[in-house]
């Protein structure tokens, strides 16, 4: 479903990704953990081209992009769009559109991008709001929703495009502890339904519960990978052990 070959990314002269490789099966839930600044968010953002990698190759659901430069031709732009259509993204800061209601936030992309009829898009949006437990808040504006509710709308918004893969970039980091659970519950449900997921998070218990595989990122590389048991119970690397010790103490 996802294949990443030798992904390299630098900001100015600082290299943040040192040739990352990754392969992920359909229906697999992979969790990225690692210290701040290790490149895990950058990796996620490269996957749907919010960042332009220096080199490497990304394939998602059969759409392949050879990285190295921003899209110049119409063909390259279309390829980038196709890639993004296959990968839904959920941000740390939610990034809901403040001028639109919860329902309109979900309806916008399917109508604008896919040309879905409005009635159809709205029916689907209400269904998704129900799925994330917000059927009553369709007409609320983002500012009228709690952080947890906003993030659940954001998940519904991404799902409305029917992506093959869901990318979560620290989806609960901006939330108070009591609001995190409602978001994690939705994500857990998605994983159980067999969604292919790639999650950057600091929630170790959550990672342990839902991940089929855990990647430990360190210094722009995948330092260690394995099942949750392998990583959390018997980490091979000293760095991983140290990180986990700090993370669980915290």
């Amino acid at each position: 479903m996802i294949t990443v070959e030798n992904l390299v990314k630098s900001y100015n002269s600082t290299r943040v990704l040192h040739g990352v490789c990754h392969a992920q099966q359909r229906g697999e839930a992979v969790v990225l953990i690692g210290p701040s600044g290790c490149g895990k968010s950058t990796f996620l953002r490269c996957l749907n081209q919010l960042e332009t990698p220096d080199s490497g190759r990304i394939t998602i659901d059969g759409v392949t992009i050879d990285c190295g430069h921003p899209p110049g031709t119409n063909h390259e732009r279309e390829l980038q769009r196709q890639l993004r259509l296959r990968a839904g993204m959920v941000f740390q800061a939610f990034n809901l559109f403040p001028h639109l209601t919860a329902l309109e936030n979900i309806v916008a992309a399917p109508t604008v991008v896919k040309g879905l009829p409005r009635s159809e898009a709205e029916a689907r949006a209400r269904e998704l709001l129900g799925k994330v437990g917000l059927e009553g808040r369709a007409q609320a504006y983002p500012a009228q929703l709690s952080g947890g509710q906003q993030q659940r709308v954001a998940i519904a918004r991404a799902l409305a495009m029917e992506p093959q893969v869901m990318l979560f970039d620290e989806p609960t980091s901006a939330l108070d502890p009591e609001l995190k659970d409602e978001v994690l519950r939705v994500m857990r449900q998605l994983a159980e339904e067999g969604m292919t997921m790639l999650v950057v998070t600091h929630e170790m218990q959550f990672a342990r519960d839902i991940a089929d595989r855990v990647l430990f990122f360190e210094g722009g590389r995948v330092a260690e990978s394995g099942t949750p048991e392998q990583i959390f119970s018997a980490p091979q690397q000293e760095r991983t052990r140290e990180f986990l010790r700090k993370a669980t103490v915290r």
Partner: protein, 500 residues
């Protein structure tokens, strides 16, 4: 700034003077101007050297030096009074109010001896006999008399005798110019069919031009006199004596010959008999408002048309400019940035002159209305582009990322996510600009548009009631702009309620 403010200032000064008058704080007629002139050894004479040949104008060979038959005459008059002369630059159609304000001692600048002027100020005996001359393009036939001009677009100098003559016969499509050079230029650009002007001006500017000709003989002779404040009786007497002396010793003839304006008409100077002019009834335009308000309102309609159309152009062109600047590829976005900087860094007045008088030289001939809308609109487009840029850049980057991640193209992101949010940010500054446009639009009177401020100026010039008309005009401007600002407040409130 606009004429409007300048005139409002003149108006408020008038108000102050009026106050002092009534309270009697300043005994205005106590000291005669003549004593003051002799005390300081300097005669200050008001004139307009802009396009002022052959009266007073910068020497083409030595532009820092003024010359002209009135310049020489001022020197000769000052010598008779035993002092030196110094010219004070002042816009021609504002010379009378400026004299009354005390900016200078006398007006010596082709001021016609008309009852209107004599009611307002004292005038000396004449020093020059002028006549009216019709000027046309060389190939034009038949426009030899005033009645031939009916129905034709004809240029005149603002508040000149030519303007008054054509207004009296009626039916002429009058275009009012701030100077004489501009009207002849428009004549050559075929925007107008003829210009009616004082003969000396025609001799200097039109006769040497092969593209133009004098059409018919000069007519409607009249006299130029020196304008003096009414209370300066001694000064007036001294000037009259000086003019007689200069005529008698042929100094006048010598000066006029030097500038090519001497003709047999000047012999009539001797025949002049001062007529007694009925003292001016002070006109209160406020009391007679039904007569004046409709005229002002007609000007206001033009102001509204101009402002609304120019603002519409600015809003659309500004959007285009900012989109090119922010999203287009390298050479294009530089052009957009350069456009904004150049437009903001140069005066609107110059831009209007270039559009209206400059473009015809490369074959693009806009009428005054189009040039006004284009000038105002393109000028404001630059500030709207900057407003939009601030609005667009105020939208967090996460909004764009979210839209792109959903598969929207750059344009869809802009159209559905960024611009709708930027709109809210941008409404207050754009409305401010719209209100400013109402007032700034008065500047287009320099390219012959007759809008509210110009109507005010023309009425004030003929009634001399700067205060009453000023209040009415200011009232109309306020009545136009206040609803606009109310509407903006309402719109802003309505659009932002969903944010919080």
């Amino acid at each position: 700034m606009s004429n409007f403010w300048r005139e409002l200032r003149a108006c408020s000064c008038g108000l102050l003077a009026l106050l002092f008058f009534t309270v009697g704080l300043i005994p205005l007629d106590a000291a005669d101007g003549l004593r003051e002139i002799q005390r300081r050894g300097l005669l200050l004479w008001g004139a307009d050297a802009e396009g002022g040949a052959p009266y007073v104008y910068p020497d083409p060979q030595k532009p820092e030096q003024l010359i002209g038959f009135e310049y020489d005459l001022a020197d000769a008059l000052a010598a008779k009074l035993g002092v030196k002369a110094r010219m004070v630059q002042n816009q021609w159609d504002q010379l009378v109010p400026a004299l009354e304000r005390g900016n200078f001692d006398i007006i010596l600048n082709g001021l016609e001896l008309t009852p209107e002027n004599q009611r307002r100020i004292a005038m000396s005996q004449p020093y020059f006999v002028y006549a009216q001359q019709i000027v046309t393009r060389r190939e034009t036939d038949g426009l030899t008399g005033m009645t031939d001009l009916k129905g034709k677009p004809v240029g005149v100098l603002s508040s000149s005798v030519a303007e008054r003559l054509l207004e009296q016969i009626g039916g002429v499509d009058l275009r009012h110019y701030p100077g004489n050079v501009e009207s002849l230029r428009d004549l050559k650009a075929k925007r107008i069919e003829a210009v009616l002007m004082d003969l000396p001006i025609a001799l200097h500017y039109a006769q040497p031009d092969p593209a133009l000709k004098f059409s018919g003989a000069p007519f409607a002779p009249g006299y130029y006199g020196i304008g003096v404040r009414k209370q300066d009786a001694l000064l007036l007497a001294a000037l009259n004596q000086a003019i007689q002396d200069l005529a008698a010793d042929h100094t006048l003839e010598r000066i006029y010959r030097k500038y090519g304006v001497w003709d047999e008409r000047q012999a009539r100077l001797k025949d002049y008999r001062a007529e007694t002019v009925v003292a001016q009834k002070s006109v209160s335009t406020l009391r007679e408002w039904p007569k004046y308000l409709p005229l002002l309102l007609r000007g206001a309609v033009t102001t509204v048309e101009l402002s609304v159309l120019a603002m519409a152009l600015a809003v659309i062109a500004g959007l285009f400019v900012v989109l090119v600047r922010l999203y287009a590829v390298a050479p294009l976005n530089w052009l957009a940035k350069a456009y904004v900087e150049v437009i903001r860094g140069t005066p609107l007045l110059i831009q209007l002159f270039l559009l209206y008088y400059g473009l015809p030289e490369i074959g693009i001939r806009l009428n005054a209305f189009c040039a006004a809308i284009l000038g105002l609109g393109l000028n404001y487009a630059a500030s709207e582009a900057e407003n939009y840029r601030a609005g667009i850049q105020a939208i967090p980057r996460g909004q764009t990322e979210a839209a792109l991640a959903l598969g929207m193209s750059r344009w869809q992101t802009l159209r559905h996510v960024v611009l709708p949010q930027a709109l809210r940010v941008v409404i207050p500054p754009v409305t401010n600009d719209f209100i400013a446009m109402f007032k700034d639009s008065s500047i287009v009177s320099v390219i012959t548009m007759v809008e509210l401020t110009k109507v005010y100026g023309m009425l004030a010039m003929s009634t001399y009631d700067y205060i009453g008309l000023g209040l009415m005009t200011a009232g109309i401007y306020f009545a136009l702009s206040y609803p606009a600002s109310l509407f903006a407040n309402w719109l802003e409130g309505r659009l932002s309620h969903d944010h919080r």
